[in-house]
């Protein structure tokens, strides 16, 4: 447990998806110089993946499956569109809500993917999905408020809530033979007079949970009843391994006038993690508020980057389809191999691109991460990095090529079956 995270009731030990975070402890009272930093900022949690990353980063031949990032660079048609705009001199201040061309492209993409009316006024370009979350939380919560977050979860949402002065309240997923599911009773019980928002990520990182339409209707009913915002993180919506072309979405069940803020990113679908471009979708009545929040936090996104994003949306459908097919194949390849050992507690996830699984007899996943670096030369993230409910699990990202995943599976299977469950201690 992270004793520094004083404002949060549970452990928000945070994890970044980015891959180069040094591990420097910052504690209240640790250095008098830091005492002048506001408490809720000084006690923001650090990444919980960092330890194993730092431990394993420089190992020769290491296969890193710890981050939420694929191994494919941004396709060249996207890069070329951005470079052309850069060379054409699109280097001046631009629209705070995003280029009209990009807002139009997003509206077309959303219309064809979600069957919603094509309305550019609903979309606001942000400097990353993370900034979309930051802006959504800034509107929804302030000092002393509470945000409900099903857990385990991507820790940046909880940390961003804390940054806004609010308190993340974790509601653990139920877990059974069919994998993770929402516990609607506990969700309802977690609501207090200070609750202002529910943050729902579906398909979910790290669990692979995918909300059903009934789940979404129930959460929406709860939010309506209590006057709460829903912050809907559906960034993995296309990475769905059911029969349909995409996962169920709040778009399918909401009415106009619902208080839902959708956060989105170009990172995963179009292999643009490093670009830091995303969008927030909201009722157009929030337009000026969102514009102000963009203005006073980063003042917009480079126009030349937005030209790349337009190309991604308008010409990227084949690329996205390939990425999803590759992820599905990767999921089956690794999951089947691990399940066959009989040594893992693993339910194939219906969405996102992570396996989240337990290894028989190994409950201390923090040290297990280091052990796997030493003994299997594979990098996984410990479930404890994802908050309450993550104990006993490891996260493995399968958004990578066949060859690498096959080798990683071979190593993990050899370790699970050859070395047995007693394992060697951590180095």
């Amino acid at each position: 447990m992270n004793s520094r995270a004083l404002p949060a009731p549970e452990d928000p030990s945070a994890t970044a998806e980015s891959s180069h975070l040094p591990l420097t402890p910052v504690g209240a009272g640790e250095d008098p110089y830091l005492e002048r930093v506001r408490d809720h900022i000084r006690t923001l949690p650090e990444s919980g993946i960092v330890e194993v990353m730092n431990y394993g980063r420089d190992r020769p031949g290491m296969i890193p499956l710890w981050a939420g990032e694929g191994d494919v660079a941004t396709p060249s048609f996207i890069c070329e569109a951005a470079a052309a705009a850069l060379h054409a001199g699109e280097t001046f201040y631009t629209w705070q809500r995003g280029l009209p061309e990009l807002r139009g492209a997003i509206a077309r993409y959303m219309a064809r993917t979600y069957g919603v009316p094509e309305n550019p006024d609903r979309y606001f370009v942000t400097g990353s999905g993370m900034q979309a979350i930051h802006i959504a939380l800034a509107m929804a919560v302030g000092a002393g408020d509470e945000v409900i977050i099903p857990s385990p979860s991507w820790p940046n949402a909880a940390a961003a809530a804390q940054k806004a002065g609010a308190r993340p309240v974790y509601v653990p997923f139920a877990y059974g033979k069919d994998g993770f599911s929402l516990d609607h009773e506990r969700l309802a019980e977690a609501i207090t007079p200070r609750t202002r928002a529910i943050f729902l990520n579906t398909p979910a990182n790290p669990t692979g949970f995918v909300a059903t339409h009934d789940d979404l209707k129930a959460v929406l009913a709860l939010a309506r009843r209590h006057g709460l915002w829903i912050i809907a993180d559906e960034i993995y919506g296309r990475f769905y391994y059911g029969e349909e072309a995409r996962a169920p979405s709040f778009h399918d069940v909401m009415d106009e006038g619902d208080h839902i803020l959708f956060v989105q990113t170009f990172s995963k679908n179009w292999a643009m993690t490093g670009w830091r471009v995303g969008w927030i979708e909201a009722d157009p009545r929030l337009g000026q508020v969102i514009e102000n929040l963009i203005q006073y936090s980063t003042s917009g996104v480079a126009a030349f980057m937005q030209r790349g994003a337009v190309a991604a949306l308008d010409q990227g459908e084949d690329f996205v389809a390939q990425q999803i097919a590759r992820a599905r194949k990767g999921r089956d390849l690794v999951a089947d191999a691990l399940i066959a050992t009989g040594k893992v507690d693993l339910v194939k996830p219906p969405g996102a691109f992570y396996l989240f699984f337990g290894i028989e007899g190994r409950s201390d996943v923090r040290s297990l991460g280091l052990t796997l670096v030493d003994e299997a030369n594979v990098g996984l993230a410990p479930g404890t990095a994802f908050g309450p409910g993550g104990e006993g699990f490891m996260r493995l990202c399968f958004a990578r090529g066949d060859a690498q995943l096959a080798e990683a599976s071979r190593r993990l299977v050899a370790w699970l079956t050859g070395k047995g469950l007693s394992g060697a201690g951590t180095a």
Copy 2:
């Protein structure tokens, strides 16, 4: 006065430097849908320049001198470095504190410009100078705190303080025949038990004020005495028209251990306004806190953009020198012409790239901005957009080419002398 800005004691009527902000009023209670937005966010002020921009934007032949932006696109050596990195696949997550190469380049730049030790650990790359301000304020202030800001001032600092839940407290500059100066007595009197920071911009937008070393020492002494942060916005430090190569800086007077956060940007020196890249300079002990704040607000800056920034620092000195020489020439060209009419109250500014001046008999600068669009076809920003003390002034940006500035001067002089002071009403 902006009656919506409830949390602030004075009028923080805000202005963006960016140039395309629509004017949509957002008021408490105006639309019930907005009532669920936190008060201090819903009441964030909008741009005060927007009205005149919207009024004049599409006029044929209009010369727009209202924004804080030059007319030169980013030099090609910078664009090429970024494009090369983009094509080379630098599109993955990267260091949250910035590329080590860029932090090193910043350290070299600061060492040769300010004579400080070359220490990359002091510099953290941000997604704009605006984000640097956002991060500095997040560390320094929270709900209920106060930030002292000499005024008139660039309104984004005050708005960002409000966004952080704090209250901007304006201390008007003194104004006399030598231009604007800090009123140290009023500065000291403005401090309350809730004061946590002083935000000082020098050279200043919009006034052209440049703090002397004695000013800086006095502010630093005040901050030390009361345990306050100083947020030092010295982004126009090179745009200085005195004898020395740059304006006085807190770097010249501070000691190790002082609580000073420097915010910086690539926008002005290297004509990179649209890129949204800057940095924050701080004591390395704040490194993990700053990294966390970057992580939980935007999760870093695109590596390929940072490659462009490295090129700017390492190869951009000639370009910066040209920019400064051009601005000095532009200042003299326009200021001399206006002063010669005898109709303006204008002191040549010692720094930054704005004239901030009054026109005899015209105190209603908001309508004057519209009148000048109609009758002189020149776009200036009303001083009221810059908070208390801006009444009666207009802001003119002279970071533009000779030909355009000469034509703008000709038009303004003709209007001032030909049409006389009675002027026509606004359209």
